[in-house]
């Protein structure tokens, strides 16, 4: 392993070698995450969420029955990174595809992975109706308050005053409308069994987020209805910040509008 060289620089060789032993391994990339490097910008939240989904699928041993529906958005290539069967949907329509898969393959475990433009703008109707029908699917919703893929335009979830390439002076709610708390809408639909808002910017939130993903998959297998996990996320590139700045900005500004926690769990 070529990496070892760097580890040795400031260290006694013996000590590190002692530690870096298979028996001592406590965490590493799940094999369900493919070796293809992810195309995301450095520090992008998508990567963390991908990793967590892969880990949960792996841990639950459901890779053989899980079918992912990829969005149009930065996560369009999600299928290259998690080693399960995938369908790439048209922009916003992932819940429609997932509906059909759920109906036609009731024994499978279907999830959609969608951005805020995909889920909360063009896909609003498909999202609401899949949830309202209570499709047995999990919806993973990456809310980074921006259209990452197309170069940082305003999303329905962009918060007040936030600068994007289509709100260069900051979102003016009087002109462009209010940040859409779509998860709150989904909460009051009878078809959803679990709606939660998570983040992945700190070790603690990552651990909680993973639990939420697991619960969503468990609900799906238990045919409890639709589970929605919103990840309040960053798009450091679109926000024009460093990844760390973006995390801080998110915690400071986004969480006010999108407070973390379970909105519904039944």
């Amino acid at each position: 392993m070529q990496i070892a060289t760097y580890l040795l620089q400031n260290h006694t060789i013996m000590t590190l070698q002692e530690i870096i032993q298979p028996a001592n391994k406590v965490y590493g990339k799940t094999p369900l995450l493919t070796d293809t490097p992810m195309h995301y910008c450095p520090g992008c939240s998508h990567g963390v969420v991908h990793k967590l989904i892969a880990e949960v699928i792996e841990e639950m041993g459901i890779q053989d029955i899980t079918i992912g529906i990829a969005p149009v958005g930065c996560a369009v290539f999600a299928y290259n990174y998690i080693d399960i069967d995938w369908q790439e949907a048209a922009h916003g329509r992932a819940p429609a595809l997932a509906t059909a898969v759920n109906r036609l393959l009731p024994e499978s475990c279907v999830f959609t992975y969608q951005g805020d433009g995909d889920l909360a703008a063009i896909g609003t109707a498909e999202t609401i109706h899949a949830c309202n029908r209570g499709e047995n699917i999990a919806i993973f919703f990456i809310n980074n308050g921006i259209y990452g893929m197309t170069g940082g335009q305003m999303a329905p979830t962009t918060i007040e005053g936030m600068v994007t390439s289509t709100s260069p002076e900051g979102r003016d709610v009087m002109l462009e409308g209010y940040p859409l708390k779509i998860s709150n809408l989904l909460t009051i639909l009878d078809g959803t069994c679990y709606v939660t808002r998570q983040a992945v910017h700190t070790p603690a939130t990552v651990i909680r987020a993973k639990k939420a993903i697991r619960k969503a998959f468990e609900n799906t297998l238990a045919k409890k209805g639709t589970s929605v996990v919103e990840f309040v996320s960053t798009c450091n590139s679109g926000w024009k910040m460093t990844p760390h700045q973006a995390n801080q900005w998110m915690a400071e500004h986004m969480f006010k509008v999108y407070p973390l926690g379970d909105l519904k769990d039944q």
Binding site: I3, L7, I19, G28, G43, T242
Partner: protein, 74 residues
């Protein structure tokens, strides 16, 4: 010198030098290397290896699943 309880191995070629592991590490173990990898990124490395406790914080937040963590059970 204190005995290490943990260590991490960074997959250099996957690493994008995002600094998030560095920020997440409670023990200030990680830094970005001066060198860049093939993608042109300054990858993370253990600048302060002896401080590593194997707490996995860095690996949890790493978006590119670059970090393998080892810990000696004590």
């Amino acid at each position: 010198m204190a005995r290490n309880k943990g260590a991490v191995v960074v997959n250099i070629e996957r690493c994008k030098g995002c600094h998030l592991c560095e920020e997440a590490c409670p023990s200030d173990v990680l830094e970005m290397n001066q060198q860049t990898n093939a993608m042109g990124y300054h990858y993370a490395y253990m600048a302060n290896a002896e401080a590593c406790t194997g707490c996995v914080s860095c690996a949890y937040v790493c978006p590119d699943a670059c970090i393998t963590v080892y810990r000696v059970k004590s």
